[in-house]
Structures are given as structure tokens and as C-alpha cells.
Symmetry: C3
Subunit: 348 residues, 3 copies
């Protein structure tokens, strides 16, 4: 695969924005960290705590914010949002691998499956009856696409992904290794001493431009569908229960669990290892901190947290024990207030 050609710093400014300070003719062929950049590379500087790294940095140029204009002795690209400009530039220098059309001889394709001629099926991929794979879509080794499932155009499903029957993926969906889309939701009714399974006859329906992390699981709906809207980004090891709806452009970090039938709004951000209960509503633009448990709906946009703070073990032993007696402590304070008020009355 050939790499994109190098750009001068002036070229970069005219293509991607920003103002050049210093020598705009330096050639740039890759992005890199402050720590490991080499000449010919560009780095970005956004936080003062990395100032020492900046001073030692060997990059040919650095992307900085408006407050970086005064930085010394080096070609700079000044812009409003260095991280976004860096992202655009990295996307230019590091385009995704091209998809080579073709079906590996070990792939198993059902006779009535529809696989676009521009798609790539890797070794040991399995495409079920009636399934569809769109144009320029990459299906990795060991991926299983179930009966009647549909994968849109320009998707990339990496090794050992499982898509169950009848699920639908839009265009430009990326699914990382080991993710499982459309397994049965956890639907059970206790019937005379045994759990009776409730058939899960809904699907998972995923919009466009969604990314799904490694070993993430999204369950199919019990009756209606589980919905992942356009532009949703899911990190690794996330569990999304049946009949959830995740609103467009919401981003969820690793290890989050979302119980069934919860609806999450658009542009939410959920921190790693958070846990969201079932049958809840989270409105648009809610940010939830890492390791936070959400047992009730959040009906107002804003930032929410609920992480129990770590301590040295001996301190924790002392303090955590009081949690179990907070109600008693509050009662003692109330009694003190009342007794003190009595005494104050008498003493006047």
C-alpha cells in the first residue's frame, strides 16, 4: 500500500486550516507524539503539562492553539482546535487500507447470499442464507454473518465478529474483533420454579458511521428492535441490552453496561465502566462520569458523576464503615441540634 505524499506546512494550512508561523516550506509526511516525533513529522501541543516534552521534541512542526503563538524556535501551525486539526491531518496521512475485492477460497457463502463484487471476504468468513454484504465492505477472518442479515457499503468487520440473523448494519460501520451483534436479550419469566425463556424476535438495527469496539455485545430486541443510531461510537467490552436505543453521535467508553429498554439521547458521553439500569431515559447531551452507576432516568442535560473515591486501604477501612451508619449519624446530629437549641433557649 502506497503512503500519501508529503505536504509542506503551507500546504497543510491551506488544506486543513490554521496559520503558519515560521518556515512554511518544511515537508511533513506523518503525525507523531511530542515524545517520539522525528524530523519530517508534525506533532501537536495542547496542554501546558506537556511543556517539557515540547521543548525536547524533534518534530519539524507543531500544531498549537491560540495561546501557543509565543512558543519558541520552531515552525508552528496555530489553530482554534489543535486536536481536531491533528485528527484531520492524521486521517490524511493514514487512510484506511484499501479493500481488495475478492472471496477467499475458504469462505463459506450461502447460495442465495448477496455479496457485492467489490467486497472482500477473508478466510473462513461465513455468510448465511439470504444475507447481504455491500460494496467495498471488508469481512475479516472468521466473521459470521447470519441468515438474512444485512451489512451496508464500506463497512469493516474485523476478525471473529458475529452478526446474528436478520440484523442490519448501515454504511461505513466498523466492527472490531470478537464483537457480537444480535445475540438473544436476557428475557426470562419465572414459571413454576424454572425460568421460561422469552423468544427474542426483534433485531439489532445499526445506522451509518457507527464504530463498535472489540468484544462489545449488542443484544437483539425481545419484540421490537434494539437501535443504534447514526454516528454512535462504542468502545470495547460494552454490553447493550435488548431494546435499548442509543441516540446519534453518542460516545460510550469501554466496559459500560446498559440494561434492557433504556433509551439514551443524542450527543451523550458515557465514561468507562459506567453502569446504566434498565427501562431508563437519558436525555440528549448528558455526560456521565466513569465508574458511575445510574439507577434512575436523567431528564436534564448536564454532567453527572457517582464514583466512590479510592483511598489508602487503612483510611478506607475507617471511613467506609461509617457509610453503613450514616443514617444513625444524621439522627445523632439532629438530636444534638435539638438539645443545643433547648440549652440556648435556657441560657438566654
Amino acid at each position: 500500500m502506497s503512503s500519501p505524499s508529503a505536504l509542506t506546512l503551507d500546504d497543510i494550512a491551506s488544506r486543513f486550516g490554521g496559520e503558519v508561523l515560521g518556515d512554511g516550506s518544511v515537508a511533513i509526511s506523518q503525525v507523531a507524539t511530542l515524545e517520539n516525533a522525528r524530523p519530517g513529522q508534525i506533532s501537536f501541543f495542547a496542554q501546558q503539562r506537556y511543556r517539557k516534552l515540547l521543548d525536547a521534541c524533534r518534530a519539524s512542526a507543531v500544531i498549537v492553539g491560540p495561546d501557543g503563538r509565543e512558543l519558541p524556535r520552531r515552525p508552528l501551525l496555530v489553530c482554534d482546535d489543535p486536536y481536531v486539526l491533528f485528527a484531520r491531518l492524521s486521517a490524511y496521512f493514514n487512510p484506511p487500507d484499501p479493500v481488495e475485492p475478492g472471496v477467499h477460497p475458504t469462505a463459506a457463502v450461502a447460495p442465495d447470499a448477496q455479496v457485492a463484487s467489490t467486497a472482500h471476504l477473508s478466510a473462513h468468513a461465513s455468510i448465511g442464507p439470504g444475507a447481504r454484504v455491500g460494496e467495498r465492505t471488508f469481512i475479516g477472518p472468521g466473521v459470521s454473518i447470519g441468515r438474512g442479515a444485512q451489512v451496508g457499503d464500506d463497512c469493516r468487520l474485523f476478525a471473529n465478529v458475529t452478526v446474528y440473523h436478520d440484523c442490519i448494519l448501515g454504511d461505513r460501520v466498523m466492527v472490531h474483533g470478537g464483537a457480537v451483534i444480535g445475540a438473544d436479550g436476557f428475557g426470562l419469566a419465572m414459571d413454576g420454579g424454572v425460568w421460561r425463556k422469552i423468544p427474542q424476535i426483534g433485531r439489532v438495527v445499526i445506522g451509518n458511521d457507527v464504530e463498535i469496539g472489540a468484544n462489545t455485545t449488542i443484544d437483539r430486541g425481545a419484540l421490537d428492535d434494539t437501535i443504534i443510531e447514526d454516528g454512535v461510537k462504542l468502545d470495547n467490552q460494552i454490553q447493550i441490552g435488548h431494546n435499548c436505543r442509543i441516540g446519534a453521535h453518542t460516545a460510550i467508553a469501554g466496559c459500560v453496561g446498559i440494561a434492557g429498554s433504556t433509551h439514551i439521547g443524542r450527543y451523550c458521553r458515557i465514561g468507562g465502566s459506567a453502569m446504566i439500569g434498565g427501562h431508563l431515559q437519558i436525555v440528549d447531551n448528558v455526560e456521565i462520569g466513569g465508574a458511575t452507576a445510574v439507577p434512575k432516568s436523567i431528564l436534564k442535560a448536564g454532567t453527572y458523576s457517582g464514583l466512590f473515591p479510592v483511598s489508602q486501604h487503612q483510611e478506607w477501612l475507617k471511613n467506609a464503615a461509617h457509610i453503613r451508619h450514616l443514617d444513625a449519624l444524621a439522627n445523632r446530629v439532629r438530636e444534638l441540634e435539638s438539645r443545643l437549641a433547648d440549652l440556648e433557649r435556657k441560657s438566654t
Copy 2:
């Protein structure tokens, strides 16, 4: 696959129980939610908060509880437990896909493996030496059954499941995509500055009628076996450590971690993202809330919780800081009590 034939509401009552109110001759061919039911379908109504959905519902009939007798203008099926009746009816209308006997040409079966003639091996399944696959069992694409492992009758193992050597699955066991059964437990001894691995020579032994969710992992025992008893239901992304025993008919929601050698009783219910420590005992009929950490044994049936409550971030900042000083706060209250008692004595 042919669908089961439609039933009249009267038929349903005579097969599955309940009392018909209104026109018992309406034909029903599927279950559906209140929100999306169409004529010819039956829905169920169990919670008053969905009353608006009920009023707009287009279902031909609705299953209701005893308190639903007065609901207006629609054929009703009144019963004691609408959810259970709904579950039975859904199972009738949505039977599992029949298993078509056969071995896909790409499956790899060891010469001395025993695969029942009524079983189905999908593409790229792999059955190790001496392994057994029972009658009418479905083995999905990319499933690996290790050397000497046994899978009973009427099981369903979906795509990319891994069963390690010598593990045993009973009858009617369902395992969802990506689950791993029988990987080594996490057994290590620190020996002169390096971790020495302790061979994990036990197995995983799973009873009948167990369901295991997508990407769930159950480790093999160190010496003795890890045991999952009959009727246990495990959701997705659960981790069960070596030498655990999970009692019959216990249900565990997604993302729960259970450390090694913990024994959990029968008919327990464990909420999502709970974490159970190692070497503990949890008796029968214990219910543990979601996001609850259990660091010690629970020896009495009942409901247990331990979730740190979410707050708006600013409130959380104010309150969480006090957690680290609870011991000091309790000491200050104690001192106040003593000083106030002194003062009260003096003032009388």
C-alpha cells in the same frame, strides 16, 4: 421455516390459561408490544405507567392481570401473571429454528470425535479428538469444541463459541456468540520475583437447561471442577472464576464478575455489573442489586444493595470529598455529644 398457525383468543385461553373478556373469536398469530402491535397480534399490559400506550394500541387482544378487568373496549385475556402467559404464548408462536442434520464441508471433525447424526455442524466448526456432540445439537460457524469435551442433546452453540478440552455441557444448553468455556483460571504463585502458573486441571461442568450469554467466560477449575447447575441463566459478558459453583436456577445479569471459589446458592438473582469477591458463600434466594460489590459472604436470604448514587457533578464533588473524612466527622459528632452532655449537666 413454517410459522405456527394462528389461534383464536378462546383457543389461547384453553391452551395457556386465562379468562376471555369480550370477543374470543379474534384470530391471533403473534405477540407484540403495546406500541407496535398490529391487528392479529396480542400484547400484554402489566404496568399502569404504560396506560397511554394501551389506549393507542392496535392489538386485537391484550393480556392483563386481575386488576385489568375494567379496561375498555377490547378483547382481554385476564390472568394472574400476564408476563408468564405472554412468555408461554410467545414460545408457541416463535419456536426455535429446527436443526437440520448435517456437517458443513468446511467443518473440521477429528476422526475419533462422536457427532450425532441428527446434529448440525456449521461452516468452520472444529470438533477435537474424542469430543462428543449430542442429538439435534446445533454447532454454529467457527465454534471450537476441544479435545474430549462433551456437548449434550438439543444444545445450541452460536458462532465463535469456544469450549476447551474436557468440559461438559448437559442437554438443552444454549451458548451465545463468543462465549469461552473452560479457559484456564487465574492461578498464580509469586515465586522468587516471577509469577509461576498453577496448572488448571479441573473442568467446567454445566448442567441441563443452562443459557450462557455472548462473550461470557467461565474458567475451568484449578484442581476440582467449576460447576454450573441446572437451569442457571447467565447474561452477556459475565466472568466466572475457577472453582465457582452457581446453584440451580440462579439468574445473573450482564457484566457481573465472580472471583474464584465462590459458591452461589439456588434461585439467586444478581443484578448487572455486580462484583462478587472470591472464596465467598452466597446462600439460596439472595437478590443482589446492580453495580453492587460483595466482598464478604451472604449467609441469609434477602435483598442486598450497594450502589453509590449518581449526582450532578458539582454536588458529587462536594459530597464525595466528605466520604474520605467520615471517620473524622463521626469523631466530631461524638465529641459534640460529650461536650453537650457536660453543659446540660451544668445547666440543671
Copy 3:
């Protein structure tokens, strides 16, 4: 596979250490638990709470610590650390399966991949272009090794493991079923209302003697590499974000999540379901308890905890509500202190 031959207790002492008390001529052929040992087996006893099991134990000999010298009527092997001696002995009696060289006919090996002649490729394994597999390495069924990835000597990758392109595994690395190494890190920039993906062009570089549990995920670096140093042991279902560095001989229990760019020192121990935030530094020799959230760096060795304690549900309801009002409670205590001091001044 032939089992190692039996040893007398005297043989064991001379090979693995310890002092024999009682009959040193008893033959031992396997290790076992106190509960299930049979004659011909050796067990170990380390905790007084298992004393009843010891009394009923049928093992031919028992490994005990220095305080076990007085235990009655049975051949004993007395040593300083019974668990370590047991581990060494178990490793002797239970060596790993030998790796039989060969490539299964269903494996897919790219023409320019380099697979050692002593390696074993199982059914449906897939080795990408330019990838390398070292001497005596076992590649399980359905494993995918991406383009240019390198797996060292004497490794074992169990079924359905995914190694992405260009990642590097050292020697004697064990990876359990379903683990995913080198998927894209979660790198996104919000750019005009949509998330722009930041290409993840780093690798995962794993040292020697590392063990990685089932369904664990380790993301590739954004620019630089994600590093797992020698001797690290990772349990199941762990998520390690991009650009983390895990120091040598650190052990991490199941379900832990570590956000991106966090560096963890050597010889740390992290309990199950802990959550470590991003861009943090944890120094060497830090022990973090289970279910503990770590939102800030830990710069001093020691033991840290932060688990919110479980309670009976009714108690929890009473106490947890106060968490949200701790700041108000602390203010009330401060006001009481001030009012009481006033009163005390007056009364003297």
C-alpha cells in the same frame, strides 16, 4: 500424552524442597484439593479454616507450613511457602500438552507468512501476509494473526483469538480464547457535530512470559505503541486502552478496565472489576482492591481500596440517601461546634 511418573515424598523433597515428616516412601502421582484427594495424591494445607477438611482428607501426604509440624498421623512435607511448593509440584505433574508440529489442511496461510516448522496451526487458523509464527508455538482453531504480526516461540494462542496487524508477541506468551489484541483504540475528535476517527497507527507490543485471559482486549496505540512488559498476567475480560504501559510482573484480575495512556508500574496487583482512569500514573508495587475506581494517579506504593460496601437493601436505602447530603451534614456539624463553643464560653 503420557503422564510424568510418580515420585516418592522423599523424591519430592529433594527435587522441590521441604522437609519430610513421617513415611517418605509413599508414592505420589498427582496434586489434589483436601476435599477430593485420593490415596496416591498430595494436597496442601495453608489456612486453619480448612482444618476439618484436613482431618477428613484421604491424600497420601500433605504440604504444610512451618506451623503445621504438629499435625497428626500423616506424611507431611513441611516448607516455608506451601502454595509455591504446591505450584511447582503441580507444574511437574501437569506439564502443558506437547505441541505437535503441523498445519491443519483448513488453515489459511499467506504465501509470504513465516511459520516455523515446529509450530502447530489448528483448523481454520488464518495467518496474514508477512506474519511470523515462532518455534513450537500453538495456534488454536479459528485464530487470526493479522498482516505483519509476530508471535514468538513457545506461545499458545487458544481458539478464536484475534491478533491485529503488526502487533508483536514475545516468547512463551499464552493468550486465551476470544482475546483481541490490537483493535483500534477509542480515539475521536468532535468535529462540527460528528466524531472524527483518529487513525490508530501504533501497535501492541507484548513481552515474554505474558498470559492474557479469555475475551480480554488490548488496544493498539494511537501513535506510539501500547506496551505489556515481561511477566504480566492478565485475567479474563480485561480492557486495556490505547497507549497504556503495564509494568513487568504486574497481575490484573478479571473485568478490570484501564483507560488510555495510563502507565502502571511493575509488581502491581489490581483486583477484579477495578476501573483505572486515563492518563494516570500508578507506581511500582501498588495493590488496588477489587471494585475500586481510581480516578487519579497513585504515586506511592501501598494498598488502596475504594469499594462501596454492600448492605441489606432497607439499610442501604436509609444510608445511601445521606451520601447526597454529606456536605450539608458536615456544615450542620460545623455550626453545632460553633454554637456549642459560644454556649460553653457563656457558661464559664
